[in-house]
């Protein structure tokens, strides 16, 4: 074994297989162009190739695979939402996640650790009871739990009644999970490329040609590409890209900041969030504590980290887990969130006939990745909007039929 390792280390031909094919020249024409090679873009490509036989597909990425908000999110998977449309959608996504490693034959490190949301007020308990009822009705494991159960689920949580906001109850979501976010994008990209999809990194879409209500081509920094259909999957830059096709969206972009400590021994199993003190905490399988969920108070495309957020996130995390006071911070970062007025995504048809939207992913994009791939691929292949994403169409804003998703973010509402 040591000799094998030595041979491997000294080998001139790196023996590891590439996960995906390196970029080649852009073709003149593709059946489908997908803008954005994050989890969503690669998931759509994967499903088009594997289940619909559409392989003349290019995924165009201005930077590198999974390097945008796929890399920046905090990898929370859950389906304990509040609206029926939302719960149904995310429930299917969690089901797909549970089988994703098998689907790819590639480990996405899915861990079903459960998720606990804390109530520090009577109003929160009422809303959790409502959420638990809706969730159970829709077949999602979600229940209201008392202080004793919380102490058993998370023994190192600060249950003191003398804290500023004592914990009164919780919403326990046994289906809650986490997975390796990079591996999700890599797995989809690998599977898509194996089936003939082309991944073009460092390829930025600069303009989109629309004639008579149809997209005919996209102009990139590497040349012009004709296409029969375009899907945009660029959460965080949705308004900027859609504008190139002449589409205006009901989105404002806010940075969402998170930070992570040095790795420690495993002591925290579930994901714990508190909408009241505005924080969520979980420990990754590497041992780092991820502390997240602070939105900046005004729209911005910059992904800088601020001292204000570090201060408020730290204060909130210490209220829940006082032992973190000795923890050393490794890094702090921000991702750009597409915030919609109703906290639901915008998926499906657009005012341009063969241009499809996968936008408005706010703070709920990662957990929706697998179901997004399935439904958006079905839409592109069949030109029919799948029932499960019909409520999320852009047109809902003109019809005053918003989906008010009050269970959208773990650390707000």
């Amino acid at each position: 074994m040591p000799f094998g390792l030595l041979k491997y280390g000294l080998s001139r031909d790196y023996p590891a297989k590439h996960h995906f094919t390196p970029a080649t020249e852009l073709k003149k024409h593709y059946d489908v162009v997908i803008i954005g090679a994050g989890g969503h873009g690669t998931a759509i490509a994967y499903n088009l190739a594997k289940y619909h036989g559409i392989t003349n597909v290019a995924v165009l990425e201005k930077s590198y695979l999974g390097g945008g908000n796929t890399a920046r999110n905090t990898a929370v998977i859950r389906s304990n939402y509040l609206t029926e449309e939302g719960v149904e959608f995310y429930r299917e996504s969690v089901k797909l996640y549970n089988n994703l490693s098998n689907e790819f034959n590639y480990n996405v490190m899915m861990e079903n650790r459960g998720q606990l949301t804390l109530a520090h007020s009577d109003a929160a308990i009422r809303s959790f009871r409502w959420r638990a009822e809706v969730n159970q009705h829709m077949g999602v494991r979600s229940e209201l739990v008392d202080r004793q159960t919380i102490a058993e689920l998370v023994p190192n949580l600060n249950m003191s009644e003398d804290s500023r906001f004592p914990i009164m109850a919780g919403l326990w979501h046994a289906d809650g999970a986490t997975a390796r976010h990079d591996a999700v994008a890599w797995g989809y990209a690998k599977g898509a490329c194996e089936r003939g999809v082309e991944l073009h990194q460092l390829t930025e879409v600069e303009d989109i040609e629309v004639t008579q209500g149809r997209v005919t081509a996209v102009k990139t920094n590497r040349g012009r590409v004709e296409c029969a259909a375009v899907v945009q999957a660029v959460a965080g830059a949705s308004s900027v890209v859609a504008k190139k096709a002449g589409i205006r969206l009901p989105i404002h972009c806010y940075p969402l900041q998170a930070m992570v400590t040095q790795p420690y021994k495993p002591i925290l199993t579930p994901h714990v969030s508190s909408p009241h003190v505005h924080v969520y905490v979980h420990q990754t399988s590497r041992g780092e504590f991820v502390i997240g969920g602070g939105s900046d108070p005004y729209p911005l495309y910059h992904t800088r980290a601020t001292l204000d957020q570090r201060e408020s996130l730290s204060a909130a995390a210490l209220e829940l887990f006082p032992f973190l006071s000795q923890a050393r911070m490794l890094r702090q970062w921000a991702g750009t969130t597409d915030m919609t007025p109703d906290y639901s995504p915008i998926m499906g048809l657009s005012p341009v006939e063969n241009y499809y939207l996968d936008a408005g992913w706010g703070t709920w994009g990662f957990k929706a990745t697998p179901i997004c791939g399935v439904t958006m691929a079905e839409l592109v292949a069949t030109k029919k909007v799948p029932d499960i994403i019909k409520p999320f169409e852009l047109e809902r804003f003109y019809n005053y039929e918003q989906i008010n998703e009050a269970g959208a973010t773990a650390a707000s509402h």
């Binding site: 308004s239 205006r248 108070p297 911005l300 800088r304 804003f397 003109y398």
Partner: protein
Amino acid sequence: MKLLTCPLNGPRNISEFTYGGEYHPMPDPNKTDPRQWAEHVFFHDNEAGIVTEWWCHSASSFWFLAERNTITDQVIRTFEASELFNQRVDFAAESGDNS
């Protein structure tokens, strides 16, 4: 600490202010259909670049406008709303309509 200069109160910590949305001239209520209202209320330009937007100094409830670069997070200038609203706005419905 990031500062924002209020036209009334001078430079203050940005945490004293509330962001109030993009500045768009309101459409004429007498000539606007529900679709146009939806566009005005829900949709945004969400520009990556220089935008004009509403801000309020929460402590004094003073509303004003700011030009800000949403890529660099730099405030270019702040100014009183009277710079853009220099005429009286009449909200009254036209007589005879919907009566």
